[in-house]
């Protein structure tokens, strides 16, 4: 994936704004940010962002490519949409943050150990497999993502929650065996593969 990153650096040279406009979801809005900071002040995880959205927008325009794409900041987005409804210029900030995170992830330069990046990947693979969320598999995969021992520890810490869900019949204990998704998952796989191919072609990230 770093090859793709190098290719992008060479293609856009010093024009990171153009790179974002052409490759990031809703990236063409970035230049419209007027630096008021309402988004940063509205974010529920605001204090946890190294660079809040307002800063990210300015950094893009200042060409700070590495700093933007390798930061954990965008991965703090909870998709609460506060920033979108409050932005005086109506920038789709949530989507731009998702788009930047996705782009960094696809280039292979997003922070490897960021838990939300890893969870997002686990989630997508979970739903893409059968077409519907397998909640048991999703939780187990998350708890065990750092190996067996820490997985046991995480699972024990979460045991209370799990037992509550089981007792109220809100968790299927046999979902690893009998989880039901769409009728023809293979057909769904074909759709998603094709969608990815087209997207990669459009964004110049052919593999």
């Amino acid at each position: 994936m770093s090859d793709v990153n190098t290719a992008m650096v060479q293609k856009y040279r010093n024009d990171f704004l153009k790179e974002v406009e052409e490759n990031v979801e809703e990236g063409h809005w970035v230049k419209m940010c007027m630096q008021c900071g309402v988004c940063s002040g509205s974010c529920p995880f605001g204090p946890d962002w190294d660079h809040p959205p307002q800063e990210i927008f300015m950094m893009i325009r200042a060409g700070k490519r590495d700093e933007v794409l390798t930061t954990e900041s965008m991965w703090m987005c909870t998709s609460c949409y506060n920033c979108i409804v409050r932005c005086p210029r109506e920038l789709p900030i949530t989507h731009i943050m998702h788009g930047l995170a996705n782009y960094a992830h696809r280039l292979g330069i997003a922070p490897k150990m960021n838990p939300t990046r890893r969870f997002s990947k686990i989630f997508w693979n979970n739903i893409a497999k059968t077409g519907r969320v397998n909640e048991l598999a999703l939780s187990l995969k998350l708890y065990f993502m750092d190996g067996f021992m820490s997985g046991i520890k995480n699972a024990l810490a979460m045991a209370g929650v799990g037992i509550g869900m089981l007792k109220t019949k809100r968790l299927n204990p046999f979902a690893l065996i009998n989880h039901k998704g769409v009728k023809n998952p293979k057909e769904l796989h074909v759709l998603l593969k094709k969608a990815r191919e087209i997207e990669d072609r459009r964004k110049g990230i052919a593999r």
Binding site: S79, I84, H98, P115, T116, S120, G181, L191, A195, I198
Partner: protein
């Protein structure tokens, strides 16, 4: 013939033995009393939620939703699509909006769907709506009151609207910062609504309750604390993610912050079902981990 009929997108969490299965139970009972017929989209798939973005990207995410819309257009032509889950509603509606705004995206989506013998038309023929919109806009507060046989008098509710049932689309043209529909719904069935519940639209962390539990639980703590401060007996919400996050982590929050939280978190549909004379089971109250005893008592009367 039913009074109202919709194409229905239940979503993953509503399934049997899934995290919001009790929400679905109460929605079924509520709709029966209101004479609303829900035609489930056959073979629907996940909306990919908001958290799917890192690996899902743009087009694959939209294809997931477009497949559902296409199936709905085919199976229940001309009917509005109704979702009970905030994420499902948001995901499907967002995709419809995006495809409507971009010829390129629509053409790409059509090309992909062709592989499964499907097509999508859009043209606004199938508006995508949340169940609370159906209640407020189509049934109306008067209509919501009609099947009522019991009052929820004596119970004080903190109406927790949360994020995605509110932003970015909004419900019934209400304010993003201070929506009042949930309070009005509570009052319609005789409950007491805490209209100045200040955390009503605060984010619970959403999917990040999984990946960033400490940060999310800080949010959840504030949401519950404000409800207690206002003297709430229970919290009511329209969102399955809000419901789960605010309910299931109470023990962990108590351990970490030394609080003594033990407050039920219910769905609006559970309130209406009880007010309509439904049993605790029909209202899915046996699915609440922190039991809503006051509602159970009214249901048993």
């Amino acid at each position: 013939m039913a009074k109202k009929e919709y194409s229905f997108y239940p979503g993953c969490s509503s399934e049997r033995k899934a995290s919001a299965s009790n929400y679905m139970v109460s929605v079924d009972a509520m709709c029966k009393k209101l004479d609303i017929k829900l035609n489930e989209i056959p073979d629907w798939n996940c909306c990919s939620a908001s958290i799917g973005y890192a690996e899902g990207g743009e087009l694959p995410r939209h294809v997931m939703n477009a497949r559902n819309i296409a199936l709905s257009e085919q199976h229940s032509p001309g009917q509005d699509i109704v979702a009970t889950c905030a994420a499902c509603w948001l995901g499907a509606k967002e995709t419809a909006d995006r495809l409507d705004a971009s010829e390129q995206l629509l053409a790409d989506t059509k090309e992909v769907l062709k592989e499964a013998g499907l097509d999508i038309h859009l043209k606004n023929e199938t508006p995508i709506r949340h169940m609370v919109e159906v209640l407020i806009e189509d049934i109306g507060y008067e209509g919501i009151k009609e099947p009522m046989v019991k009052s929820l008098e004596g119970i004080k509710f903190a109406g927790y609207v949360g994020c995605q049932t509110n932003r970015p689309f909004g419900v019934d043209g209400e304010s993003f910062e201070n929506p009042v529909y949930l309070d009005k719904m509570v009052e319609t069935v005789g409950g007491e609504a805490i209209t100045d519940y200040e955390k009503k639209v605060t984010c619970c962390g959403g999917a990040l309750a999984f990946s960033e539990p400490k940060k999310s639980q800080k949010q959840i703590k504030d949401i519950i604390e404000a409800a207690y401060d206002q003297g709430a007996d229970m919290i009511v919400t329209p969102c399955p993610v809000c419901q789960m996050n605010v309910e299931v982590y109470q023990d962990q929050i108590n351990k970490h912050y030394g609080t003594k939280f033990h407050i039920p978190v219910t769905y609006y549909s559970q309130l209406l079902t009880v007010a309509y004379g439904g049993s605790a089971k029909e209202a899915g109250l046996d699915g609440n981990i922190v039991r809503a005893k006051q509602l159970e008592e009214i249901a048993a009367k």
